[in-house]
Amino acid sequence: MSKLGLSQDKINQARQEAKIVADHTQAFIDKHTTDSVERTIVRLLGVDGINEFDIPIPNLVVDFLKHHHDPSIGIAQMLAYYIKKHNTTLDDIVAKITKETLPPQTIEPLSKEEVKKQLFPYYEKQMKAIVAQRATRDKFKQMHKLDRPMLYVIVATGNIYEDVTQAKAAAKQGADVIAVIRTTGQSLLDYVPYGPTTEGFGGTYATQENFRIMRKALDEVSIQEQRYIHLVNYASGLCMPEIAAMGAIERLDMMLNDSLYGILFRDINMERTFIDQYFSRVISAYASITINTGEDNYLTTSDALQEAHTVLASQFINEQFALRAKMPPHLMGLGHAFEIDPTIEDGFLYEYAQALMAREIFPEAPLKYMPPTKHMTGDIFKGYAQNTLFNIITSTTNQSIHLLGMLTEAVHTPFMSDRYLAIENAKMINQTMKHFGDEITFKKDGKIQSRAQNVLHDAHKLIKDINKDGLFDSLSKGVFAGIKRTKDGGKGRLGVYQKDPSYANPIIDDMLDSLKEVN
């Protein structure tokens, strides 16, 4: 029974509208591919490394397709064709492309079965590696099941080795999840940097080697602490599916993954990123990686009291996108946030209503709940109290992924001591208020119930409107975070291609085949 008096009918209607929004967009997605989707295929075939100018090999391979062929046939066609034609190995073809010694030929497309036949031996290895990682994680997690929100902290030193020091300290203090924040601007790079890195602004480069270094360190702590420590990075920006693939291989556990975030906050072209997102979510579903969506960010830009319904509307849509990628609900870390101005009368009640509403509407989703950021100031003491309020709601409404607020949010990326204080606070609240949420019920049609009901109502209305205009046009009207983005604008638009009838991506086909139908 809903503690908030939410109407299940209304929820169903909103979900139904969102389904239509997603279906329309999916129709578009299915007809297209992108540079990064193709590079992802290359990576999943086992191709990695950089050339002497630091250009990643997957980029070189896809560039070859674009320069000498029609990208609409897809990289799988091309590679299968050359392998078959030359009767050689993938490595050989890739090496030739890299050394610029492969003479371009006119490709006569193979049948999809043939493409798969040529490539299967290569991608099978990665697919198996991913399945093995999934099993390792599952086994690890049997060790210690959590009956409370996972404590999630970020590290952001810019240096992967210093990140390791910080991450281990945090894990030993009680953090369950470590997110390695990416350096400013990586999302706009149309390639993935390579190797271990020690330089970054406000974050560390997402590279496969960095993933590996951190994974290894956290596995060590997991064993020491007898508690699985989750690793998070960002499958977002122009390389969304590539990073998803890298994460799947290196056993990341969560990935920030939301094209709406990229569109709105990174000005990434919407067509590009919706297509990328689809493949990235299939990969994450296959790897059993939890995604984190970015609706919380709407409230850092717009007013959290006025715009709460946009968060809910977007969550409904994001849920449908995930379902289309055969992602089960228990991997959908839908995002929301505690961002109401603390000087507003009864602001806490509205936050409580919203948080519990999300919990009731998405009962299986591992909700990602974000701490106050916008109204944090240089007054670190006050900030610590704001975080306490946030922790109370997180704990008592049973959110799943508890992103810990830092008292120094408005000052700097976290110091080791800031993170400690955040963990200490969350632990104290979890303990002293353990069953508070179970104990309380709310006045019928009081401020809390009404707030939740109104937000649901407004969200439903908004999704209906989006449905009317279509998602792309709605985005150009600024429905989310008041930010307007056009269909043709934004970064990465040139990397989008309509698929040729001969287009093939055997990997996504295989992944989808092995995933259960979920909606």
């Binding site: 300290a169 030993k172 400013t184 400690y420």
Partner: protein, 262 residues
Amino acid sequence: MGYNLDNKIKDTNKNNKNILPYGDTMNDGKVQLSFTLPVKNDEKGYQAALKTAQNMTLENVMIADSITLEEEFTMYIAYGTLTNGVNYDDIHVEEAVKHTLSKDEIEEKIKLHFDKPIVVVGASTGTDAHTVGIDAIMNMKGFAGHYGLERYKGIDTYNLGSQVENEDLVQFAKDKNADVLLISQTVTQKDVHIKNLIHLIELLEAEQMRKDFLVIIGGARITGSLAKELGFDAGFGPKKFAEDVATFFVEELINQKSIKNQ
């Protein structure tokens, strides 16, 4: 013994030549500290923490708590007494704006002194994706109850949003014949903002356009002194709103005109 058994503060009158921190008595010099040392949380670490605080010239240091962050990292919370004060009378500051005018007053001044609108171009530049600050200054609805410049009569505004390259900004300003450039910078890690701002100044100078615009910067960590030091006309930090910056540029533009007219 080393203990001053009568450690009352001798002079509890405020002395502008030697302003000291205040705990609960004038001139008691009390300061709160916290820091982490890469040491074990034991007696030796405690002594290291004491000495660290003493290195900051603090006396009567009290380590209120020592908290183990990791085997080899300990956080200390401490209080101490600073005896070396600041000569307040010696501090001379030049504030960009002495008395902030109201929106009405600003509009009145513009009406009086300008026959065409003042053109203002704003952006969050470089890799910076934070727009809430520049929007607070420029957008119609403003921020915290202060309307933005868009709503001002006599001001034409262009807000280019975020991640704008300096080159693009300057080109745009030239095209629009701008009077004022407003640059917002939020990310300051590893002084990325300083690099970006110096680059802008160099660009303007290279193109001999530095004098064509008032160039004003703002952001959470921007101060007037920093702006001046980097070669900008003014800088505005937190708790500053459209009327603060508008007061500055309107008055400054009037000044410049009157100088030219002389």
